[in-house]
């Protein structure tokens, strides 16, 4: 059913918290996501022309890198992008078949691949580009929050987490219930000022992004920062600089 479940305060909303301060852009989360999901609930994930030019495929997680700010205040920020398991996502309501749905019990947004007709409308309705068409099977695919890991009683309890979270070498990814204000992830969001992506679209993403921390003061200038002879334009001053530094 593609009508959205009513969400009451405190209701379980599983999701991810991604720390943009510590993410190093190593692509481990994207790689392990592909590895796990190629054979799990959503498998197989197609790869078109995998061994030749123009290789491409379906991935649930894509790691971008951005530059923000100018000069010294500027930062390079690595930015993983995947489904945000929004509270009020139009990707669910636009679906004509009922294949796209949001679970009442934990808020995970899923696709029933046996019903999906591959119309692609849900991918148009997602502002974040979280859905990719499996052109082999003709059905839409997306992040499941590793539904086949997090409830999987055949693996050790410590591993019942999304593959991306487990693999991240800098622990930049956290998984938990963001509907519960007392959960570890909710507290992390409150403490670090976690932000939703594109709140102006009104989808109320559950996943939250922790901002890069402020750098410690820019006071300590590296030695190279002082002017070199080539920076002195006036030839007379340049000669004096040369003589005096001898």
């Amino acid at each position: 059913m593609t009508c959205l479940p009513e969400i009451t305060p405190g209701q379980k909303q599983l999701g991810l918290v991604i720390d943009l301060d510590t993410c190093v852009g190593c692509q481990a989360c994207a790689t392990n996501c592909k590895e796990w999901n190629a054979s799990g609930h959503s498998g197989p994930l197609p790869d078109l022309k995998p061994y030749s030019a123009g290789a491409e495929g379906v991935w649930f997680n894509r790691v971008h890198s951005y530059e923000a700010g100018e000069g010294e205040a500027g930062r390079t920020v690595h930015f993983p992008r995947s489904c945000l398991h929004c509270e009020t996502p139009d990707c669910v309501t636009v679906c004509p078949t009922g294949a796209s749905y949001k679970r009442i019990e934990d808020g995970i947004v899923l696709i029933d691949h046996d019903i999906c007709i591959g119309c692609g409308l849900c991918a148009w309705a997602c502002p974040y580009g979280a859905r990719e068409m499996d052109e082999d099977e003709g059905v839409m695919k997306k992040c499941t929050l590793c539904i086949d890991r997090i409830y999987n009683e055949t693996i050790p309890e410590a591993q019942r987490q999304p593959a991306c979270v487990l693999t991240c070498p800098t622990s930049a990814r956290h998984f938990g219930d963001l509907g519960d204000p007392e959960s570890k992830v909710s507290k992390l969001v409150a403490e670090r000022g976690g932000q939703p992506l594109m709140p102006e679209l009104g989808y109320k993403p559950v996943n939250s992004y922790l901002p890069p921390r402020n750098r410690s003061s820019a006071a300590a200038q590296p030695e190279e920062a002082s002017p070199t002879p080539m920076d002195i334009k006036n030839p007379l001053l340049r000669w004096m600089d040369k003589v005096l530094t001898r």
């Binding site: 852009g25 004509p96 102006e200």
Partner: protein, 310 residues
């Protein structure tokens, strides 16, 4: 957005078919178009052929066409589903109208005609809403999109009906309607283009990444070096100068010339009218194909903020 040929053809053909069905169902009972039952039947067949060809073409766009029947189940929330329901329901009065014309039962033709007109209107309205309800695409999520779909469908339908009516004697009322709806569609499109050209973006790369607090943000490294579904489907962009030319072609060829030819037909009458309106109908449909193509090509999706920063 990628202008997939199957969808461009679908909205043009089905739009014209529903427009024709709408005017036929509405004007004939009111006695405003003097067509013999046989001529009206020909018009109805043309409408249904256009509608059906369009609908079939739209299923080609699906990844799993054999499951298409499932698409009518979610009418409570999905405009695509509602469109499917409306399209199927409209066949019922349309076929009854055909029966009424075939056995020459005016009362049946009247009621079925009016119901078919209502169904045609509802279906095109739903088509427009599919696009208008997509928030990430600002050129579609716009109050003029649904009126645009309705006006274009009414216009192309009126031109087709005027052409057919001219062959069977009197196409005065539909020709007049073609002029009026053509002018209305042209004004509406111009207002729409002006609006989307001047509107601010709905989101920015800063709000998409949360990094605005650091400063201006720009993409550095892409997540992948090859294409993917998102870039193919939503990354399609058309150069400004091409868009400007195509807009002109759509306005002149698609609206202005057909309306002018309809005016000529109105004045000339007879065989000349039928020929002018045939040319007008061909031009209008070709112009609408250009306009529909542009509707996709000029639309931008917020996902491109992540890849291109704009």
């Amino acid at each position: 957005m990628n202008p997939a040929p199957s969808i461009v053809f679908f909205t043009t053909a089905s739009g014209a078919g529903y427009g024709l069905l709408f005017w036929l169902g509405l004007l004939r009972p009111l006695g405003l178009v003097a067509m013999s039952p046989m001529a009206a039947l020909v018009a109805l067949v043309l409408a249904l052929v256009l509608i059906t060809a369009g609908l079939l073409s739209s299923t080609l766009h699906l990844g799993n066409p054999k499951r298409a029947w499932r698409a009518v189940s979610q009418w409570r929330s999905s405009w695509l589903s509602r469109e499917g329901v409306a399209a199927i329901l409209t066949y019922i009065p349309a076929l009854l109208l055909g029966l009424g014309l075939w056995v020459d039962a005016p009362a049946l033709a009247l009621i079925a005609g009016l119901l078919a007109a209502a169904g045609a209107f509802a279906t095109v309205y739903c088509t427009g809403m599919i696009y208008a309800s997509l928030k990430p695409i600002r050129q579609w999520h716009h109050p003029l999109v649904v009126p645009g779909y309705l006006a274009l469908s009414a216009f192309s339908g009126a031109v087709l009906l005027a052409m057919l009516a001219a062959f069977s004697g009197s196409g005065a009322v539909p020709a007049l309607l073609a002029i009026l709806t053509g002018a209305a569609a042209l004004l509406l499109k111009r207002a729409y283009w002006q609006a989307i050209d001047t509107a601010p973006p709905i989101a920015t790369i800063e709000s998409a990444t949360t990094l605005g607090f650091i400063g201006k943000t720009r993409p550095l490294d892409p997540p992948h070096t090859e294409q993917n579904y998102l870039l193919r489907e939503m990354g399609f962009r058309i150069a400004r100068k091409h868009a400007t030319k195509l807009r002109l072609i759509a306005q002149l060829g698609g609206f202005a010339l057909p309306a002018l030819l309809a005016l000529l037909a109105l004045l000339a009458g007879g065989t000349a009218a039928a020929l002018a309106l045939t040319l007008g109908a061909i031009l209008a449909l070709a112009g609408l194909l250009v306009e529909r193509w542009l509707m996709f090509a000029e639309a931008t999706h917020t996902v491109t903020l992540y890849y291109r920063g704009s």
